[in-house]
């Protein structure tokens, strides 16, 4: 069974940096795409991008290119989402997701989400 365990809620100030994590288990981590989805308060779902841990190939949504960094560590089966300078508009829930059937296909497993609050 695929399991995605995300890091805990974060409260940060604008301009600060942040890295949240997603530890995967139950499948061959290096061999499947893993990505992130944003949900702003009271809003819908937005796909941010994916990484193939086996070769670190990363694909970003144009809306998030240059705004975040997606990375992965195969030694510990963990994916990351990182910001260098947070903005208030980054406040949202971030879900870790897997694309087991390929990056162009469905998001078959979801983490519980990490709530990020950015406020001065």
């Amino acid at each position: 069974e695929v399991r995605l365990v995300q890091s805990g809620a974060e409260v940060k100030k604008p301009g600060e940096s942040l890295r949240i994590s997603c530890k995967a288990s139950g499948y061959e981590f290096a061999s499947h795409w893993i990505g992130w989805v944003r949900q702003m308060p009271g809003r819908g779902l937005e796909w941010m991008g994916v990484i193939y841990p086996g070769d670190s190939d990363v694909r970003y949504s144009p809306s998030f290119q240059g705004q975040v960094t997606i990375a992965a560590a195969t030694s510990i089966n963990t994916a990351y989402l990182q910001w260098n300078r947070l903005k208030a508009s980054d406040s949202a829930i971030y879900y870790c997701v897997t694309h087991m059937r390929g990056r162009r296909e469905d998001l078959d497993s979801w983490g519980r989400g990490t709530l990020v609050t950015v406020s001065s």
Binding site: V37, G44, E46, W47, P62, R104, D106, L107, W110, G111
Partner: protein, 111 residues
């Protein structure tokens, strides 16, 4: 960022059949698989339909889906109170460098 259009709300009484629509374009629904996600209040979304019509294990057969051209639909038959949730369609979009796009979401209310 939503490029797939869904009605904001739908409702039905227990036991009824409810059908949700999802409208896209040739670059997404017209040329790639459609998926559907259910998001119960306060929880993470979960996959309920993949590859247009397939149900993951554990998803009741009350949920069914179809596609036609650049549109897709999800039907919930025998509506139950626990089906009250937000439902999102999604598909890969071939425009630009490619990205996965979600619908605007439909809130299903069980009356």
């Amino acid at each position: 960022q939503s490029v797939l259009t869904q009605p904001p709300s739908a409702s039905g009484t227990p036991g009824q059949r409810v059908t949700l629509s999802c409208s896209g374009t040739n670059s997404n629904i017209g040329s790639n698989y459609v998926s559907w996600y259910q998001q119960l209040p306060g929880t993470a979304p979960r996959l309920i339909i993949y590859r247009n019509i397939q149900r993951p294990s554990g998803v009741p057969d009350r949920f069914s889906a179809s596609t036609s051209g650049t549109s897709a639909s999800l039907a919930i038959s025998g509506l139950r109170s626990e089906d009250e949730a937000d439902y999102y369609c999604a598909a890969w979009d071939d425009s630009l460098s490619g990205l996965y796009v979600f619908g605007t979401g439909t809130k299903v209310t069980v009356l």
